[in-house]
Symmetry: C2
Subunit: 213 residues, 2 copies
């Protein structure tokens, strides 16, 4: 029986954040697919059993059940001693970027991708609104990474692992080819993917794939 | 000279989260208005001096400068000993709701309000997309508050102070009359506004008001 169980589905970059952390820490874990196609995670039964917010990821570790990728990443950093803060200042800096990520950097990008690849009748103006907001968030990170290897500087932390969540899906699916337009982000993603244990999202997350179109 | 300086503008619910915490803790603080009308916080000079993310709130406390309301709330809880966690479990629960707030509960509501009241040529489909997402987040909190006085249960924490950030602006401005439709949220807001030191957003945040329309 695996030490950690991650409730997930393959297209979820939020789930990938947790799965990538588990993989980079060489943890003993398995993925438990949710039937996202049937909106299983939105049913009253699933909400009552796992997460009232109706979302994955959910991470189970013994009697502990956690939701929100940012909580899961902080918990795993404590449990494993990897990718966490070495000081209160670093802890605040990590939390700052994880909040920015949840509010803007991941959020707008993830919604744009869903409209672009998985919502056949998406409204063009709504798509444009999320695309524009995503580009604004990308510009801030592109600038921040000038002269830095990782978000906090010399070493990777859970801030990086959170922020790359939607950046290892195929570009035709995300609707952005960032390496062509954002060289600092491209180099950063290269450094992340060179970490021992790294694998892309669709290699880590089990479950039935969602039809594009 | 005030102990805390909060860079802010009056219409920002993110700034109100920090200001409300300072007020509830009876801290020695003052607001430092940013000229949001002139997009001062987006200029390279302001970003370099205060926050590369181009956003307020920014809280200064001696040599410490903090951004992101969730970081500021955690810091003030540590400094004052008020509204923080009493255990690791509570700390995770607080962070869970603050992340949900930044991703969905505040984020969609705040964007809807801005389009509704401060963006004369807002696209109706974009407005509808954010309104629908806000209502989804409200429903989760309405359900969570059934049988609970505050987000964690019996006592208010920084999770509540974060989540009420946009709920003490006038309903004609926010575009939602939640007391009429969400009785648990209404009762919760009543409990928050009864806390000693509470004042609504426009009473706490200094600066020139933005013209509606």
């Amino acid at each position: 029986m695996a030490e950690y169980v991650l409730h997930c589905f393959p297209e979820s970059g939020g789930c990938y954040k947790a799965a990538l952390m588990l993989a980079l820490c060489d943890a003993d874990w398995r993925g438990q697919p949710v039937d996202y196609h049937a909106a299983e995670q939105r049913t009253p039964e699933w909400r009552a059993a796992h997460n009232e917010m109706g979302e994955v990821p959910v991470l189970e570790h013994g009697a502990v059940s956690l939701t929100q990728s940012g909580v899961i990443l902080h918990y795993l950093a404590e449990q494993t001693g990897r990718f966490g803060a070495d000081s209160p200042e670093e802890a605040r800096e990590i939390l700052r970027w994880i909040l920015f990520d949840n509010h803007k950097f991941t959020s707008y990008f993830a919604t744009y991708r869903w409209l672009h690849s998985f919502t056949p009748d998406a409204d063009p103006q709504v798509k444009a609104a999320f695309r524009s907001r995503a580009l604004g968030a990308f510009a801030i990170v592109e600038q921040h990474l000038a002269g830095r290897d990782f978000i906090l500087g010399a070493r990777p932390t859970i801030a990086d692992i959170s922020m790359v969540g939607y950046h290892f899906f195929p570009p035709e699916e995300t609707g952005f080819d960032l390496p062509a337009t954002h060289p600092n982000i491209a180099a950063w993603l290269g450094r992340i993917s060179a970490l021992p244990g790294w694998r892309p999202a669709y290699d880590l997350l089990p479950g039935k794939r969602w039809p594009r179109g």
